[in-house]
């Protein structure tokens, strides 16, 4: 009994790291708004089969029905498909590509950045030249070519976007490792006889996660935008409804059906906004330099 209250008091005086984080995050109203958007999107994606009023592919003779038509809240497109259902199902592609492409970029970027920053010297020089090369090549054009050559399955899209998005993280992680490898705790680990791999990934990495999470969130937003752009160029996965693809269809019917453009585009903008706001808020909550203001 006494021990329990002692533990409770200890917990009170030393709140868990996540509690501290949430306390700081919560104060950023825009960040909370962004988080709400992201959570709603996730729910929309997961619950798509139950939420969508129609099959997103079911064509009908009711072409170009305006919004608020009975049974079609956001209207229908040039093939009589329900726009709302397309948006709900489209969230799956955007989220899948966003998360998995960002994850791919993270893995490559962290590995390259860590090795480059930790070892320095010739390894660093070579890796940074390669990073620079990938930064210079216009991502969108290269992605377009790869998809045009190799086809546009969902898996390929994720891989292409991920592989083309890592340089930014690599640079960030490299900078962090450069400053951390000179700190006493890294010397300590070395004295204890830890191997380089262990120092890099289980000693330093946990200390540099905050900026990585921030970049990850912003990268998800970028990946969603890039996927939508490819979809708009008609290079999305043809087997799943996507927001970019819907805007591609809308382009030919702008004069006839404004709703084909307005609603899917708003969905993209909201999703990107959500992840951007979350990234900014995490940054503000974890970066002591930004806490004032």
């Amino acid at each position: 009994m006494a021990r329990q209250s002692l533990a409770a008091r200890a917990a009170q005086s030393h709140p868990h790291l996540l509690q501290v984080f949430w306390y700081r995050y919560r104060r950023n109203r825009l960040g909370v708004f962004g988080l709400a958007i992201v959570v709603l999107l996730l729910l929309m994606g997961v619950l798509a089969p139950w939420l969508a009023p129609h099959d997103p592919y079911a064509t009908s003779r009711d072409r170009f029905l305006p919004p608020l038509s009975p049974g079609h809240l956001l209207g229908t497109d040039h093939l009589g498909r329900d726009v709302l259902s397309g948006i709900i199902w489209g969230s799956r592609v955007s989220l899948l590509v966003g998360f998995l492409a960002a994850a791919t970029a993270m893995v490559i970027g962290i590995a390259v950045g860590a090795i480059s920053g930790y070892y320095g010297g010739a390894v660093d020089a070579v890796l940074m030249r390669i990073t620079e090369l990938f930064q210079v090549i216009p991502r969108f054009v290269l992605a377009l070519l790869v998809v045009a050559f190799f086809g546009s399955g969902l898996g390929k899209l994720i891989l292409v976007i991920g592989v083309l998005s890592w340089p930014q993280i690599a640079r960030l992680v490299r900078g962090q490792y450069l400053s951390h490898k000179a700190l006493p705790y890294v010397d300590g680990a070395r004295v204890l006889g830890m191997g380089s791999g262990r120092i890099m990934f289980s000693e330093i990495l946990p200390n540099v996660t905050a900026p990585i999470i921030v970049t990850a969130s912003l990268d998800i937003a970028q990946a969603i935008l890039l996927e939508a752009s490819l979809g708009f160029f008609g290079l999305g996965d043809p087997n799943v409804p996507s927001w970019g693809g819907m805007l591609n269809n809308a382009q030919d019917y702008l004069r006839l059906a404004w709703w084909m453009s307005v609603f899917p585009g708003a969905a993209i903008a909201l999703a990107v906004l959500g992840f951007n706001l979350v990234g900014d808020a995490v940054n503000e909550a974890t970066n002591p330099r930004l806490r004032e203001g």
Binding site: I137, V141, L144, F149, L247, V262, A269
Partner: protein, 331 residues
Amino acid sequence: MSAGNAGGGTALWQYVVMRLLQALPLLLGIVVINYLLISLAPGDPVTALVGDYPAPPEYIEQVRADFGLDRPLWEQIALYVLNVFRGNLGFSFANRVPVLELVLERLGRTLLLMLITIATATIVGITLGTLAARRPRSLLDTASTGIALAGYSIPEFWLGQLLILIFAVGLRWLPAGGYRDVRLELSGLDLWLNMLKHMLLPMFALSFRYMAITTRLTRASVLEIMNSEFILAARARGVSERRVFWSHALRAAALPIVTIVGYNFSFIMAGSALVETVFGWPGVGRLMYDSIFYRDYPVLLGILLLVSITVVIVNLLTDIAYAFLDPRVRY
């Protein structure tokens, strides 16, 4: 000459040469990546070099021989690099012109759109950002934050469609697309004004994101500078607040803004490709869209190559401009 008396001019010159030398392997890397794409593409690599558009069989055989497609991979790469440096990027059968000629012509129109966009966005962005920084938390500051958030999140091509819906379809103020009115016989000033009218909407669609970036960065930069010690020192010396702002702070704050152009150039280019497609602006982006449709691969490869080279050049110019403006960079 000892290091001590090497003047600023000499150091800058050395820096420029160094950056030029660093750009060379980058260019080579771009060409090699281009070729690896060709050879890794499924099917016969000659398809990637000629495109799927019907081409005469003699030409296909000639390409096979020119690019040594029956030789080992490294020889192919060497031949490809050689061909590229000779300016031979192949022939577009969908357009009936050499690829280099076609892409360069379109690149000019894209750069025209981009330059006007960059100029407008930079002026508006710096103005907004400076005003916001001078009065933090004012209505204007909040508004500029809102604009910035929207700019980061709204895809250019959707913004383009919205602008068409509002200004071309709804209000009928401006044309929905194209480069100029083809039905009118125009020349001189009238032609330029007509082009400008066609350029307004794509320019706005393209500049919004970029304006947002410039506004944010200017605001942060001015705020940081205004709180720095040399400003405090200037104020302590009794320099008037107006002078502190205009001739001390703004000059230092302008530095990072220079880099935005260079380091976002390839993103603006991608944005331009999308916006051109929305508005039917006959630039590189529109050409890309059409080439995908016709499976005109040599054109796509040519665009990747020339756009990458443009980005390298712009980055180089940015670094040099930065070094020129900021004496601390010269080492």
